[in-house]
Amino acid sequence: MNPIDPRIHRALDGEISREALPPELRRVVERLESAAALLATAPEGGRSVADRVLARLSRHARSPLRRLARWLAAPHPVTLRIRPVWSLALAASLVLLALLPEERSAPVLGEHEGIAQFVARFPGAHSVQVVGSFNDWRTGTIPLEDRDGDGVWRAVVVLPAGAHEYMFVVDDERWVPDYSANRFVEDDFGRENSVLIVRPVKG
């Protein structure tokens, strides 16, 4: 820091006349006085610098929606305080929910509809389905299931009440009558169809 000549201080304080100073010091005093005059000028609109800065900021303030979007997109530190016993209970509930069998709503049966249960034993089969007069002998509409892999295939189906002829189709190629049906009829193609009588549930 350059020391200021004490004569300048004295001239600025009015203790000595400006003319008593050498010309170079007199120029310094004049520059200092003009700088002081500039600083002493009143701020724009009579407001302080702080006021003007805040006014400028508020002019650029974002809408509430944009601020919300920005807040949602920005990362925020989140602190969760969980008691271990509750977190264990939550985990157990989720596991139980996953293990429980899917609950289906019961079908609403019409006046002329009943339930048919198909059960057949085909150990080693990869697929079993039932086809008959109730599905126009169309494959792929009533598959049987063997959930526990014991070779016993089952299906419970809603069918129109009345008599139906049917057969099982094993592995998409082997046609087999239901030998547990106790009712059979010639199929006119050299084999026998099983006959099923469906009684209306609401009868």
């Binding site: 339930i115 086809v131 509409t141 009345g162 139906h164």
Partner: protein, 224 residues
């Protein structure tokens, strides 16, 4: 009467419609024109056509050769004609309804002697005979005498039982037999219980809950 006339007006044009498009892709192409013509003949004669279409679809699904499919459909048509003739003989005013023709045809296919079917037709004039014929056919399938079976079911009809309750009669006889009684004892016991034969068990709530509908059934089936 008005309803019958309306149905006749609707059914007549339908009877003449081709079923070729319904069979296409599912029945060998060589069989379709013949099957189609047989179906139209059945329609013109007032016979049910569903059993014929169903038989053709069955043959197609079982990969049967076209000649066999045509023969099976012809056989079904003859069976339907015989069933209608039997219904008329049994007292039904011609023309017999297609549903009853299909029912009687199915009973004959299941091996019921025509005279037995005629007895049932006479015992249930102007009423659906499907359950009665199934009840008798069930007993006959267990090697019971057809005449005795028909007598029991006709007794049940006279006692006021109808519809599914007639199936309870055959069910009750088979239950008695499974308990170790002779057929004669089983018949006598059930006859004594008429009309209060025990009802066959219905599917439980859990079974109904598990039931599902076939993923697609294109049309309502007709009794075979």
């Amino acid at each position: 009467m008005r309803v019958a006339l309306l149905l006749a007006c609707v059914a007549a044009p339908l009877a003449g419609q081709s079923v070729g498009s319904h069979l296409e892709g599912r029945v060998p192409a060589a069989a379709i024109p013949v099957v189609d013509s047989l179906v139209q003949v059945a329609g013109r004669e007032g016979l049910p056509t569903e059993p014929l279409v169903g038989k053709a679809l069955e043959g197609g699904a079982k990969h049967v050769v076209p000649a066999l499919i045509v023969r099976a459909v012809e056989t079904r048509l003859d069976q339907l004609r015989s069933a209608r003739a039997l219904l008329v003989r049994g007292g039904d005013a011609p023309p017999a309804t297609p549903a009853e023709v299909a029912t009687v045809s199915g009973a004959l296919r299941r091996g019921l002697p025509p005279p037995v079917v005629e007895r049932v037709v006479g015992a249930l004039p102007s009423e659906p005979r499907e359950s009665a014929l199934h009840a008798i056919a069930d007993l006959v399938a267990h090697r019971l005498d057809a005449d005795s079976s028909a007598s029991l079911v006709i007794d049940a009809i006279h006692a006021g039982l109808r519809g599914g309750r007639l199936l309870d009669v055959s069910h009750a006889v088979l239950e008695e037999q499974q308990r170790g009684r002779t057929w004669a004892e089983s018949f006598a016991r059930v006859r004594d219980e008429l009309p209060n034969v025990p009802a066959a068990p219905k599917p439980g709530e859990g079974t109904v809950q598990r039931a599902r509908r076939p993923s697609s059934v294109s049309r309502a089936p007709t009794p075979p």
